[in-house]
């Protein structure tokens, strides 16, 4: 397919009418991967805040589960719980990661456009339509546990559309990495963000369609006999597997790629054990495949299976391998704790914490499986995804917006989100040890679990604050009249830094020839051994 992403400017032919129409047209009619990526990123950030606020409301209700305070009844609490959990994944983290990928991956691989640019635009509008319908469905008492049949079907349809949009965008990103790479860029030389998106995309394409199938069963059964799949009380159990380990960890795969691109650049050193990091990201990706763990497939609890326990324990190995490579990279260069580096390191360490908790849950003797500890893993894993996005915003903001996000805001946001993730994880873990169930209503809490509900609420509040801080700094930087960012303020290693900030319509005047995993570093220090 020929990429006709952006109409070339024709100097001297612009009329007043064109000047008025251009901004609307440039958004509604665009197939430019940069505009589509930014729209995914911006709306994802907005919905992330909505989902976090929903999490806060649920956290507040959990303080005293015997009564509904902010909401009117238990059903409302459960619906807001569903909105916050699925919203974090499908409205917040995955769209933001895909937005970054849609913008950055073509630049990283030296392509003039994304593969299937019109499909990428269609993905955005499908997802946006689904997101609006999703909020509307909850507004009319739909969603899991919903009392309004039309609302429940609207929820199933909207979730179907959300996933469809995300899958379509994933196909565009993965195809770009596979088939649009610059001459000389073998898969081993692919920048780590692009490589991680290839791995994550493959896992998302293998996992999310299975969720589509579950939604299909729910929609058909709910619209007809409501025999099993379409029962209001059964729906959540059929879709919530995507929010449990190992499946929920698929949202953290690109975080490793972001850290892998950020750390060497800021350490002013070549990535150590580059191939090892590629293998680590690939291995971690494979271990996050969780479609097999759906309750509809298993007659016995999945937590008791050797496969589940083995995957949970093995997931730590690739993370340790990658972390070791980054520590060695710092040793070769220097440890400059910039905002992106801090966010990346906290994300990787936080991910290790999440995986460690997953191991604890997988050990049968702890009896944590089936308790609210699994919510802690889900919440913290998704907040790690948010942390990765913050690191990416700090690092690539010159390329994305032509302005730099203040480093202090990124650092503050990263610390707040990390503190939030740790509080959510540890609070839910301890509450799980006191046998608190995974749903936020109907539990007769013991004193310690009640105290942990306060910790979890504080965690969601800190995470929300962290995201708002970075979002506000981003808005101020992009809408203000600050200094335009340099084309390559960090001394980047990969091709996206070889073009202007922000890039021109077709990204590169000529497709560059790539001879290593860090082509720009080679250009600046040709005497260094590229191996």
């Amino acid at each position: 397919m020929t990429a006709t992403a952006t109409r070339p400017a024709t100097a001297g032919s612009t009329t007043d009418h064109d000047e008025v129409a251009a901004p609307t047209q440039s958004i509604l009619g665009t197939a430019d991967h940069k505009t589509v990526g930014l729209l995914f990123l911006g709306t994802g950030l907005l919905y992330l805040v909505v989902s976090l606020v929903a999490g806060l409301v649920v956290g507040f209700e959990r303080l005293d589960p015997s009564t509904a305070d902010l909401l009117t009844n238990d059903t409302d609490v459960l619906q807001v719980f569903a909105l916050s959990q699925l919203g974090l994944l499908l409205l917040g983290v995955l769209p933001m990661l895909l937005g970054l990928a849609l913008y950055l991956v073509p630049l990283q691989v030296g392509a003039p456009a994304i593969a299937f640019p019109r499909a990428a635009a269609a993905a955005l509008w499908t997802w946006l339509l689904g997101s609006a319908m999703q909020l509307a469905s909850f507004g009319i008492n739909g969603g899991p546990w919903g009392g309004e049949p039309d609302g429940v079907e609207l929820w199933a349809t909207s979730t179907f559309l959300l996933i469809l949009g995300l899958l379509l965008a994933t196909v565009c990103v993965v195809t770009t990495v596979v088939a649009h790479r610059a001459p000389g860029m073998t898969l081993r030389r692919t920048p780590l963000l692009s490589w991680s998106m290839l791995v994550a995309g493959a896992i998302w394409l293998a996992t999310l369609p299975v969720l589509l199938g579950d939604l299909l069963l729910i929609a058909i059964d709910h619209a007809n006999g409501r025999l099993a799949f379409g029962l209001n009380t059964e729906m959540w159990g059929q879709v919530s597997w995507v929010l449990l380990a190992p499946a929920v960890l698929m949202a953290t795969i690109p975080v490793l790629g972001i850290a892998g691109d950020v750390i060497p650049v800021h350490a002013k050193a070549r990535q150590r054990f580059h191939d090892g990091v590629l293998v680590a990201i690939g291995g971690f990706g494979i271990l996050t495949f969780g479609a097999w763990s759906r309750p509809l497939l298993a007659s016995e609890p999945v937590d008791d299976s050797v496969l589940y326990q083995g995957m949970a324990m093995l997931a730590a190995l690739p993370l340790l391998l990658a972390l070791g490579a980054w520590i060695d990279t710092f040793r070769q260069g220097s440890l400059r704790l910039t905002g992106p580096v801090l966010a990346s390191l906290l994300a990787v360490l936080g991910l290790l914490d999440v995986v460690g908790t997953g191991i604890a849950i997988a050990i049968p003797q702890t009896e944590l499986a089936g308790t609210t500890a699994v919510n802690g893993v889900a919440g913290a894993a998704l907040l790690i995804g948010v942390l990765g996005v913050l690191a990416a915003l700090g690092h690539w903001s010159p390329k994305l917006f032509g302005r730099s996000v203040p480093d202090g805001a990124v650092k503050l946001g990263a610390v707040l989100v990390t503190a939030g993730a740790v509080a959510v994880l540890s609070g839910e873990l301890v509450a799980g040890l006191y046998d608190q169930g995974p749903l936020p209503v109907g539990a007769d809490l013991r004193d310690t679990a009640e105290a942990m509900a306060v910790v979890v609420l504080a965690g969601w509040a800190l995470a929300t604050l962290g995201v708002v801080v970075v979002a506000a700094a981003l808005l101020t930087a992009t809408l203000g009249e600050g200094e335009p960012a340099d084309d390559d303020p960090w001394g980047g290693h990969t091709l996206e830094w070889a073009t202007t900030s922000p890039p021109p319509p077709h990204n590169f005047a000529e497709v560059p020839l790539v001879t290593s995993a860090a082509p720009l570093l080679d250009a600046s220090s040709p005497e260094e051994d590229a191996s």
């Binding site: 196909v171 369609p209 589509l212 069963l217 025999l227 759906r294 077709h506 005047a509």
Partner: protein
């Protein structure tokens, strides 16, 4: 900075030869469709095994007949041969055979559509009566959509070939359409065995 400016200045770059893009994208879409159907079939087989273990029967109050699904299997099996005949013909610069084969592929697809709908009406399986019906309609319905999409894809690529958009001997778009067609037929054969043959 001067180097950067030089790198990005001027007219848009010349397009690079990217023969695999449509094929790669189609492979990914076909894989995703396969996972959707695999998930549904997994649920179906799991629940069926559970029912057989407890009550000893799965389809109750309904007779699932074999002839119509088997006709679909045979039709689609033949369509794979003619779809590859079309691709082979275009790759060997034989337009006439290519168009005949494409028309036959679409005709066999249309015959399959007809048989699937006929089978649904013959089964008399009320979707609100049993969980089994929900599963059967979800699986066969999802595959039906895949069949329609494959027919649309082949027709589109056939029209493009007719319009001369592919160079003779290099028809990647058609290869992608045939790949999706193959995936659709493979999926049907699995469904045919799992749902209709083993019952």
């Amino acid at each position: 900075m001067a180097e950067t400016a030089a790198l990005t200045a001027g007219a848009p770059p010349a397009p690079v030869e990217r023969p695999r893009v449509t094929l790669v994208g189609t492979t990914l879409v076909a894989g995703a469709c396969g996972m959707l159907l695999a998930g549904l079939l997994g649920t179906y087989l799991s629940l069926r095994a559970e029912a057989l273990a407890t009550s000893g029967e799965w389809f109750t109050d309904v007779t699932v007949k074999l002839p119509s699904p088997s006709i679909v299997a045979v039709s689609l099996g033949m369509s794979v041969v003619v779809a590859h005949w079309a691709l082979w013909s275009f790759n060997h610069r034989d337009r006439r055979n290519g168009y005949v084969a494409l028309a036959l592929t679409l005709a066999l697809g249309a015959a399959s559509v007809n048989s699937v709908i006929y089978n649904w009406t013959q089964m008399g399986f009320a979707v609100d009566a049993q969980v089994q019906a929900v599963l059967v309609y979800a699986i066969t319905g999802a595959h039906f959509v895949m069949l329609l999409a494959a027919m649309g894809f082949v027709a589109l690529m056939g029209l493009r070939a007719l319009g001369g958009q592919f160079h003779l001997g290099q028809s990647d778009g058609l290869a992608a359409a045939v790949l999706f067609w193959d995936a659709m037929v493979a999926a049907y054969l699995v469904i045919w065995y799992a749902v209709y043959i083993t019952r």
